[in-house]
């Protein structure tokens, strides 16, 4: 273990949700990017006060879902119809997987059996969307991780009880040892703490 420490950022405490909300508006307007609020309960409109932009997750989920639809469509039509051989000129696909066009209730073996495949297309759309939501979310928020520098602060645990905290991280381009501290004091922060992480 070395004695060197790395500055993670300033952790500031506020009296209540309102103070935190207005402080967030000021920090947003000051142009900070790498910072976050920690509150015991969801504060309505805080995302707007922080200037958080829309998540990219919906786009990931859209294409994840579409992948599911297409996967189900292709898998089913290759294995159970003659669509790829007769309409797409890709008979080798059917040879590849040794298919048996499934005939149920004298349904056609072409693309018009499509309704029979809808349930699976629907299910795979949902499944792939759900997976993209979960894993996309974890990737975007950087979880799972073993530890977080904020845990070195004794004060931080209060965020799950009665603490309204804002942390401005040192990797923010606007971060300055004195300037950021002044800003936090100006917007009404109590107990400003410089959080340092062991290297």
């Amino acid at each position: 273990m070395s004695n060197l420490k790395r500055v993670h950022g300033y952790l500031a405490e506020f009296d209540n949700a309102q103070d935190l909300y207005h402080a967030a508006e000021h920090i947003r307007d000051a142009g900070y990017q790498r910072w976050d609020c920690h509150t015991p309960f969801p504060v309505h409109g805080l995302d707007g006060a922080m200037g958080v932009s829309r998540s990219k997750l919906p786009w990931l989920v859209f294409f994840g879902g579409m992948t599911g639809t297409i996967t189900a469509f292709v898998l089913q039509t290759i294995t159970q119809t003659n669509f790829w051989r007769d309409n797409m000129g890709m008979g080798f696909l059917q040879k590849l997987v040794e298919t048996y066009p499934t005939v149920v209730q004298s349904k056609p073996t072409g693309i018009w059996t499509l309704p029979a495949f809808f349930p699976v297309m629907f299910e795979l759309t949902i499944l792939f969307s759900a997976f993209t939501v979960l894993f996309g979310l974890l990737a975007l928020i950087g979880l799972p991780r073993l530890n977080h520098p904020l845990f070195t602060s004794k004060k931080f645990a209060k965020f799950s009880d009665d603490g309204f905290l804002i942390c401005i991280e040192a990797r923010d381009p606007k971060f300055a040892q004195q300037g950021t501290r002044d800003l936090l004091e100006k917007v009404g922060a109590k107990n400003i703490e410089l959080v340092e992480d062991d290297i």
Partner: protein, 436 residues
């Protein structure tokens, strides 16, 4: 956030009164449509004879049912709003209340459906019942014509007396629900008492079931019974989905129009468009779910007495309409209504609301009209594989103009009678400042 918090100081005392003179262009257009439609309909109903006249009965049924879906949808949304004790929609609820009360004029427009000649043309079972009165008569006739056996079995439900009672009840129930619910809030505007909100909630919970039965059996009586041998248990839900979908779209257009005239500026925000757009989206999906379930089970099971409905709609020209409905009623609105930011834009949501109404017209057309040529025993024209009654689409358009024009005209004029929103509702500010 620059979002201004609306308080009672920002809102006018007595709410906002709509002045029909300001909307004279649109009201005039509806009036002109109604005049042309009603005159044309009168010509078709009384000035023509034979197949043309008979075919027009279908046109009128189509138009009445389109009107019915909007009115029933308006009633549904106020019921849901009150029963679920929600606050967001207080700013727009009055518009739905007024839409529901249009059940009365619509019921008057629907009176021609009580004429025996019209009934015999539209619903074959009426003719059989009149030719062989009573259960005994039907039973006797069924011995020589086995096609009448279902009518003997269904006699307890499908008989002329009960049908007529139900016909009156459908319009009566919708009218009663919407006037009653509106009257609670009109009383509240007089005395400002919160108890009316509670009463409205209790009342809404009590009439949820009668409402559901109304929509279900209206669809069964008027559209499903066009072929008395056919049945689908999804039928009521299918048309309920259409009701909720189309009326929400109509109200979105109306709110956008009212805002362009300078009304509802303080109480309705982009958040409301987003919320209403979300419900529009939800019912796009719900409709598709129900429509596909109904199609899928019948198509897969392939039982002759069930498949007839889809057989005539999935062959010939109607097949193209079916595919168009799949794409236009579900796929396209689904993809576009999916995006959150777009739903908050009045221009965007207005366009899709108009599209939704158009597709709803097509959907009901596809439900009602294919039966016409088959019922009348017409043969396909040379070179075609689908039987059609030549030129009948003119009557369909005229009937639609007559009903939509009349109801639209009366509806817009009725908006001026009361405030555009319940201005003493305890949750008006909650609605005006809603965030989602």
């Amino acid at each position: 956030m620059s979002h201004h918090h609306v308080s009672f100081k920002d809102l006018p005392e007595g709410g906002e009164k709509f002045d029909p003179a300001k909307a004279s262009k649109v009201i005039g257009t509806f009036g002109a449509l109604a005049a042309i439609g009603l005159l044309g309909s009168a010509y078709y109903a009384f000035g023509t004879h034979g197949d043309t006249q008979k075919g027009f009965a279908y046109s009128w049924l189509y138009a009445i049912f389109v009107g019915f879906t909007f009115v029933a949808g308006g009633t549904f949304w106020i019921l849901l709003h009150n029963a679920s004790n929600s606050g967001w929609g207080v700013a727009v609820r009055r518009l739905f209340e007024n839409l529901g009360t249009m059940a009365l004029p619509l019921g008057i427009l629907a009176l021609p459906l009580l004429i025996p000649g019209v009934q015999n043309t539209l619903w074959e079972w009426f003719g059989h019942h009149r030719a062989h009165p009573g259960l005994e008569g039907l039973h006797h006739a069924a011995e020589s014509d086995p096609h009448l056996h279902p009518l003997v079995d269904k006699y307890g439900y499908l008989n002329i007396t009960f049908w007529t009672i139900r016909f009156v009840l459908y319009f009566g129930i919708l009218w009663f629900i919407s006037t009653k619910l509106r009257s609670y809030f009109l009383k509240q505007e007089a005395d400002g008492d919160i108890k009316h909100t509670v009463y409205a909630r209790e009342f809404a919970c009590m009439v949820l079931l009668p409402f559901a039965l109304t929509v279900t059996f209206a669809a069964v009586d008027w559209i499903m019974a066009l072929d008395y041998t056919w049945f689908s248990t999804m039928w009521g839900v299918y048309h309920f989905a259409g009701c909720a979908w189309s009326s929400m779209a109509a109200m979105l257009l109306l709110v956008i129009y009212l805002q362009s005239l300078g009304y509802l500026q303080k109480v309705v925000t982009g958040e409301h468009f987003h919320l209403m757009g979300k419900l529009l989206f939800a019912f796009t999906v719900f409709w598709a779910y129900i429509a596909f379930s109904q199609y899928f089970l019948i198509w897969y099971a392939n039982i002759p007495e069930e498949t007839r409905f889809y057989f005539i709609r999935n062959t010939g020209v109607w097949r193209n309409v079916s595919i168009f409905i799949v794409i236009g009623h579900f796929v396209v609105p689904f993809v576009f209504l999916l995006q959150q930011q777009l739903k908050k834009s009045p221009k965007f949501i207005g366009f899709w609301a108009a599209w939704v109404i158009f597709m709803h017209f097509v959907d009901i057309y596809w439900n009602v009209i294919p039966e016409r040529a088959h019922s009348m025993g017409l043969e396909p024209a040379p070179g075609s594989d689908t039987p059609f009654l030549p030129g009948a689409w003119v009557g369909d358009v005229l009937a639609l103009c007559a009903v939509v024009g009349t109801i639209g005209y009366l509806y817009l004029r009725s908006l001026g009678k009361h405030s555009l929103y319940a201005w003493r509702d305890p949750r008006l500010l909650e609605s005006a400042n809603v965030r989602n």
